[in-house]
């Protein structure tokens, strides 16, 4: 082997270390969760949303322009196909303070609107997000028919990554009345906190 080829072999080894390191960083980043919700154990009386007493209510809080929440909305569409009308599903899209009305009507809003049986609501000034104690886009709260919090967390397995997740399966089990092992899961998405100093979620 010529000295030139030995150089190429060394270059290939260094290259492999760099790209494998890059991929590892990417996956580490994708699996860092956002700030978890401190959701009330009972349906909050301060909420302006209506909760039916004959079926559970699922609330997904999303930032309308969060790229990671694309996967959450895609997973919600799959979830909705399974749980259907057995649950009242509401998607709340944040409209931060100071933003014009309609700012929240992004393509994510349009995608969510296309899911059958889902009510879409604008969360002006992030009021409902505060009432429900959520900080990260993609957070799903599942209250049973008596208004008790049964699940809080995400429905994706990584940041902006479609595919089945523990949260997804927990909700399906809850709807089917099956035993669940966990009542919370990490949530991956943009920060819903409008004050930059409060932002803990990663984008």
């Amino acid at each position: 082997m010529s000295r030139r080829d030995v150089g190429f072999v060394l270059l290939a080894v260094v290259w492999l270390i760099v790209v494998v390191g890059g991929m590892a960083y990417t996956w580490r980043y994708k699996t860092i969760p956002g700030k978890a919700a401190t959701a009330p154990e009972r349906w909050p009386a301060a909420s302006e949303l209506r909760r039916p007493s004959d079926r559970p209510t699922l609330v997904l809080l999303a930032h309308p322009r969060c790229p990671c929440s694309r996967a959450s909305i895609a997973e919600l569409a799959r979830l909705q196909a399974v749980i259907g009308s057995k649950v009242q599903t509401i998607v709340l899209f944040l409209r931060p303070e100071g933003m014009k009305e309609g700012w929240e009507r992004s393509d994510l809003w349009s995608k969510a609107s296309e899911i059958p049986g889902v009510a879409i609501v604008a969360d002006a000034d992030g009021r409902e997000a505060r009432v429900f104690g959520t900080h990260t886009s993609g957070e799903v709260l599942y209250y049973d028919r008596s208004g008790i919090l049964a699940y809080a967390g995400g429905i994706t397995g990584a940041r902006g990554h479609e595919g089945t997740s523990a949260g997804f399966r927990t909700i399906v089990s809850l709807v089917r009345g099956q035993r669940v092992d966990r009542r919370e899961a990490p949530v991956f998405g943009c920060s819903l906190d409008t004050k930059s100093t409060e932002s803990k979620g990663r984008t």
């Binding site: 080829d5 190429f8 072999v9 270059l11 290939a12 290259w15 492999l16 760099v18 790209v19 890059g22 991929m23 590892a24 990417t26 996956w27 580490r28 980043y29 994708k30 699996t31 930032h63 322009r65 969060c66 790229p67 990671c68 694309r70 996967a71 895609a74 931060p96 303070e97 100071g98 933003m99 397995g157 990584a158 902006g160 990554h161 479609e162 595919g163 089945t164 997740s165 523990a166 997804f168 399966r169 943009c190 920060s191 819903l192 906190d193 409008t194 004050k195 930059s196 409060e198 932002s199 979620g201 984008t203």
Partner: protein, 218 residues
């Protein structure tokens, strides 16, 4: 050594030369073709990151989505060395194995950039099909090892991102790898048949040359 056995030996050597030349030309052609493909995929990845979601948000603050620098820098790093070797050292064994690694890592990056969409996973199978152009089954093994290693390591460190559960069985990566091996078997048969065909053509070409030479002498 008789004249007859000497002629056969010359014919065998000629056939081997033709076969080696044809195989080398195929390696060089495929190196270049895949280098252009890698460059195109890099550009595609950048466009994907810019078109789908160039921005991320924190409350009401807009920030650059990490997908953009990842597509440019990591994507660029992934294709850089394979493309360099394809043009500077075409036909070399290391070149095609580096290209195989780069091609399958590009699949992993595109899956990441598209948000893990199931449709993008088909890129893995397309990549293996492109690698089969080499007609070298060992290159397919290298590509497959990248897929298996990616699933094994992600399954070990970030299991929920691959399997949707936090404590999968240790062998779960084999279930995914099985389908990759399935297409590998098809492509491997195609590679071996391709090599056999190349060898047959080389032998025929050598025989024709030998006949033509004997006619000229006669």
């Amino acid at each position: 050594m008789t004249e007859g056995s000497g002629n056969v030996e010359r014919l065998v050597r000629l056939a081997e030369d033709r076969f080696d030349a044809h195989r080398d030309a195929n390696y060089r052609y495929t190196d270049r073709m895949l280098a252009y493909l890698l460059i195109a995929e890099w550009v595609f990845g950048i466009l994907l990151s810019l078109v789908i979601s160039p921005d991320a948000w924190e409350g009401k603050s807009r920030i650059l989505n990490i997908h953009v620098p990842l597509a440019i820098l990591l994507g660029g790093a992934i294709v850089a060395v394979p493309v360099l070797l394809a043009f500077v050292r075409p036909g070399w064994i290391l070149t095609r194995h580096v290209i195989a690694i780069g091609q399958l890592l590009t699949s992993a990056l595109l899956i990441h950039l598209s948000g893990g969409r199931i449709e993008t996973h088909f890129h893995v199978f397309g990549s293996l099909a492109f690698l089969a152009f080499y007609r070298d089954w060992k290159v397919l093994i290298t590509g497959t090892l990248v897929v298996v290693a990616d699933h094994f390591l992600r399954g070990a460190f970030y299991p929920e991102s691959v399997y949707g559960i936090t404590n999968p069985e240790w062998w779960r990566f084999l279930e995914h790898a099985f389908w990759v091996v399935f297409i590998d078997i098809v492509l491997l048969i195609s590679c071996l048949r391709g090599v056999k065909e190349m060898r047959r053509l080389a032998e025929q070409s050598a025989q024709l040359e030998a006949v033509a030479l004997s006619h000229m002498r006669g």
